[in-house]
Amino acid sequence: MIEIIQLLINGILLGSILALGAVGATMIFGVLRFAHFAHGDFMAIGAYFALTVVTVFNLPVLAALPVAMLLTGGLAILIDQVVYRRIRRVQPVILLIASFATALVLRSFIQMVWGGSNQVYQAGIQLPWRIGPFTLKPDHLLIFAAAAGLVLIVHLFLSRTRMGKAMRAMSDNMDLALVTGIPANRVIMWTWGIGGALAAAAGVFLGMDTRLHPVMGWTLLLPIFAATILGGIGRPYGAILGGLVIGCAMELSTLIIPGTYKPAVAFAIMVATLVFRPQGIIKGNA
């Protein structure tokens, strides 16, 4: 029992990170109709942006977080306007392949600038708290709190602001959004900005929890897509739920199978969702 609860704590932690990535990926899918394969690498570059801020200005990671989010959001908008915008009118599969190329370029860029070896934000060992039989690192609480805060901000944005509603409208019915006079390109830019910023946050949290590595985001792409599909493609609230479920399932699976198979668990859930409930937990618009 104690082991299960401990794994659930770890699962929620991983789930929060996945959720932040999945919200962005699902919003991008909702508005632009393609699976964004460079999303994991947005996470990675966001984590590295934060690393530079931490080392150059000697700041705590959480202070570097907003800078990394801003830079990655800006980069996402830039990449969209330079690369994706030109091919938006052709088939979505072309966008998908272009995003694959973008992923490779970003990863190589990271290796070029920051090197290919493991890095950490803070050297040294952080002593975990012992609460009864459970262990919890102070960083974990920070990650929970920050992730919950970001999810709340996204919720308020989507449900209260004009731009947030326009984004949901475009995801719902693109043609109607256009004849209503909603400016598509501006909504798309906001979507990339928010998707990129959330990916950066996920990357920074992942870096805090583990380490920084050029493929850190790429390896999480599959669980993120699994969370997106499980939650109903194009549904931000579903993606949050999907992220938490996949995160917990991945951690709990270590009870019965070796930990190296964690991504396979996410993959299995994704396949099962596609077979038995392709619309996701919350009905998506795929």
Partner: protein, 234 residues
């Protein structure tokens, strides 16, 4: 000066002209209906005027200003609102949110605009927190028209507003359209229910294979034996 006029329109998809030398005109405060057999280019004519189908020749003029092939955003800002035939609501959004988005191009408070829409469609006020996707066909049509009215248009374009509705709702819809028109909003609509639509309209156009065939007042078209025989099913 007409509210909206189209002169010698040639338009279509992928180099094939569906419209050939089509002309249409809507005066302010008028209800104009386009009828005709399937594939006559009725919807295409309306879409071409709203800039959704590229116009290759001819021009569209709104209050003396040429607006041919302009993006929808600009049409809506000018006061032209368009309601598509199908998929004309945002299903996962609430009624209120659907209406709010209708006024996206406008600044200022949406409250008075929404009150006006609720006066026309009291049913929407009752169901304002409902998700549009789970509403009945008739209610969805109200949301769609309400969304278009939010932009305080001078011209409302309706693509088959009674498609798929029950006979009782069809009558109700035409009555509403007349009510909207009495607020000083010009209406251009495409209709399959040709008899009822012509009865509700000030003027009508009969289109066939993308060309103008007849143009007259609603009652005169209804009384025209040729029109009745060829286009209204005898």
């Amino acid at each position: 000066m007409s509210l909206l006029s189209a002169e010698g329109l040639y338009a279509g998809y992928g180099g094939v002209d569906i419209l050939r030398d089509t002309h249409l005109r809507v005066e302010a405060d008028e209800i104009v209906v386009i009828v005709g057999p399937n594939g006559a280019g009725k919807s295409t004519a309306m879409k071409a005027m709203f800039g959704l189908v590229p116009v290759r020749r001819g021009q569209v003029v709104y209050r003396g200003e040429t607006i041919t092939n302009q993006p929808a955003e600009r049409m809506v800002s000018r006061g032209i609102a368009y309601v598509p035939q199908e998929a004309n609501v945002f299903p996962s959004l609430s009624v209120t949110e659907n209406l709010e988005l209708g006024a996206y191009v406008l600044r200022g408070s949406n409250v008075p605009r929404m009150e006006r829409v609720f006066e026309i469609f009291p049913r929407l006020k009752e169901r304002r927190h409902q998700q549009a996707g789970v509403m009945s066909g008739g209610e969805r049509q109200m949301v769609a028209m309400g969304r278009a009215l939010m932009v305080e248009p001078t011209l409302l374009m309706l693509d088959e507003p009674t498609a798929g509705l029950s006979p009782r709702l069809i009558d109700e819809t035409f009555e509403r359209i007349r009510g909207i028109n009495q607020l000083g909003i010009g209406v251009l609509m495409v209709e399959q229910n040709a008899r009822q639509a012509l009865a509700a309209a000030d003027r009508g156009y009969v289109l066939a294979t993308g060309e103008n065939r007849y143009e007259d007042t609603g009652p005169a078209l209804l009384a025209n034996p040729e029109v009745a025989e060829m286009f209204l099913g005898g």
